[in-house]
């Protein structure tokens, strides 16, 4: 397929791997790079890149939208699904995420109405076809997803659909990167920045990484050559001591991102503090609907108050999301917690680092 096969060229990958090995060996310490995108996590495991370089430590950060959703937010979703006359519409990977007492899957078996959709527009379609019900879409995702929800809200407004609303658990990636860098215990030598988040936001929001933390950042694509080239670029920045934000995935990411999509995002949403699993509350790292779109905000329409409960005992998702532990360091990994019976969200989502580690290699 065009724009895929040429980025999987084995001969070029082989040469590039040798260059990276030489370059990383010439830096006299082990170098640690973090990716903050679930699709990168999967791509790195799938291509076998994780274990290729003895002098490179590749760690996963908070890049899986489902995984960073807090237990309390999952409990709210369960509370919503229990209410009468509600249809919950969601992307598929939320279904099996356990809250502190139940999951959407368990609620379905108790009679809750939950529809898995591919696009928020499909959820709007369900609302049109079920006028007697209230359809609530679970808006989970980063900057890539938020404009698609914003465009759907604008469409609902144009059509005058009133039985449609969202629960916004959107999160923003650059504030999470900033919060990680501010933590003393977290050691990162550079970031592999997400390709499709950056297709929307561009490269400017990462400028604080070289400027304030003197660290390299490279926006990468998702094919093996993309990731290898991005690692090479990160190492070259370290070697030359010239940290900057560079775009490897330039066929899709422009420095300015997608201004039209950003305009719609900010038309509908405004920033708000958000709670991330593992990272806690990060200022201005979430999105809530603006006042003029408050009638689409399910959290204002329904009583979703839940008791504060602790995360599942033993689950290390929080530490894994900060890159402080590998999935295999968790005492539950592969034994009590596996993709069939996940304890934490990092094992549920296909993009979660525990699920990827389980599927592609237990390193």
């Amino acid at each position: 397929m065009k724009y895929l096969d040429e980025y999987r060229d084995p001969a070029m990958a082989h040469d590039l791997i040798e260059r990276i090995k030489d370059l990383s060996a010439s830096i006299n310490r082990k170098t640690r790079f973090m990716e903050v995108c679930g699709s990168h996590t999967v791509a790195i495991y799938k291509a076998g890149i994780k274990s290729l370089f003895p002098n490179l430590d590749l760690i996963s950060g908070p890049g899986c939208p489902v995984c960073v959703t807090s237990s309390r937010d999952i409990d709210q979703i369960i509370r919503l699904a229990e209410l009468p006359g509600i249809i919950v519409a969601t992307f598929g990977d939320m279904i099996r995420v356990p809250g502190t007492t139940s999951s959407l899957q368990e609620e379905i078996s108790r009679g809750a109405k939950v529809s898995v959709v591919y696009s928020p527009l499909d959820a709007l379609g369900i609302a049109r076809e079920n006028q007697a019900k209230k359809v609530v879409f679970l808006a989970v995702g980063f900057e890539t997803t938020a404009p698609t929800i914003a465009a759907t809200i604008l469409q609902a407004e144009r059509e005058g659909v009133r039985n449609f609303s969202i629960l916004s658990y959107h999160k923003l990636i650059p504030p999470a990167m900033k919060a990680l860098l501010a933590e003393d215990e977290v050691r990162i030598d550079g970031f592999l920045c997400p390709g499709h988040v950056s297709a929307i936001i561009g490269s400017t929001p990462y400028e604080f990484i070289p400027k304030e933390y003197h660290l390299p950042a490279v926006i990468a694509g998702f094919e093996p050559l993309d990731i290898l080239q991005a690692l090479f670029m990160l190492l070259m920045q370290i070697k030359g001591n010239r940290p900057a934000v560079e775009i490897q995935y330039s066929r899709v990411v422009r420095p300015e991102g997608n201004p039209g999509a950003m305009k719609k995002l900010w038309q509908v949403f405004q920033p708000a503090d958000a709670t991330w699993r593992g990272l806690g509350v990060i200022p201005e790292s979430g999105l809530v609907l603006r006042q003029e779109f408050a009638h689409y905000d399910a959290s204002r329409q329904f009583d979703l108050s839940v008791e504060e409960r602790a995360d599942p005992p033993g689950c290390q998702c929080g530490q894994v999301l900060k890159g402080l532990q590998r999935p295999t360091d968790c005492p539950l990994f592969g034994r009590v917690c596996n993709p069939q019976q996940p304890v934490g969200p990092c094992m549920v989502s296909a993009e979660g680092s525990c699920a990827a580690a389980y599927k592609y290699g237990r390193s």
């Binding site: 397929m1 990977d93 527009l121």
Partner: protein
Amino acid sequence: MCIAVPCQIVAIHDSTAIVEVGGVRKEAWLDLLTEAKVGDYVIVHAGYAIQKVDAENAEQTLRLLREMLEREGDNQ
């Protein structure tokens, strides 16, 4: 949640495109990429085209990478 596969636009009706990837056709909404044209390759996420694939840039990335690897190879 991202589909990283570039899809080609084969038709556009109002703000909806028909895109094709690997012989499969599906709909993609163009509200977030109004400038897209038939023939363009686009990244589709949650039903919306979110960005165009720049053909010239794609070739340049590969050419530069190839040149870099050949140059480095000559030095050894």
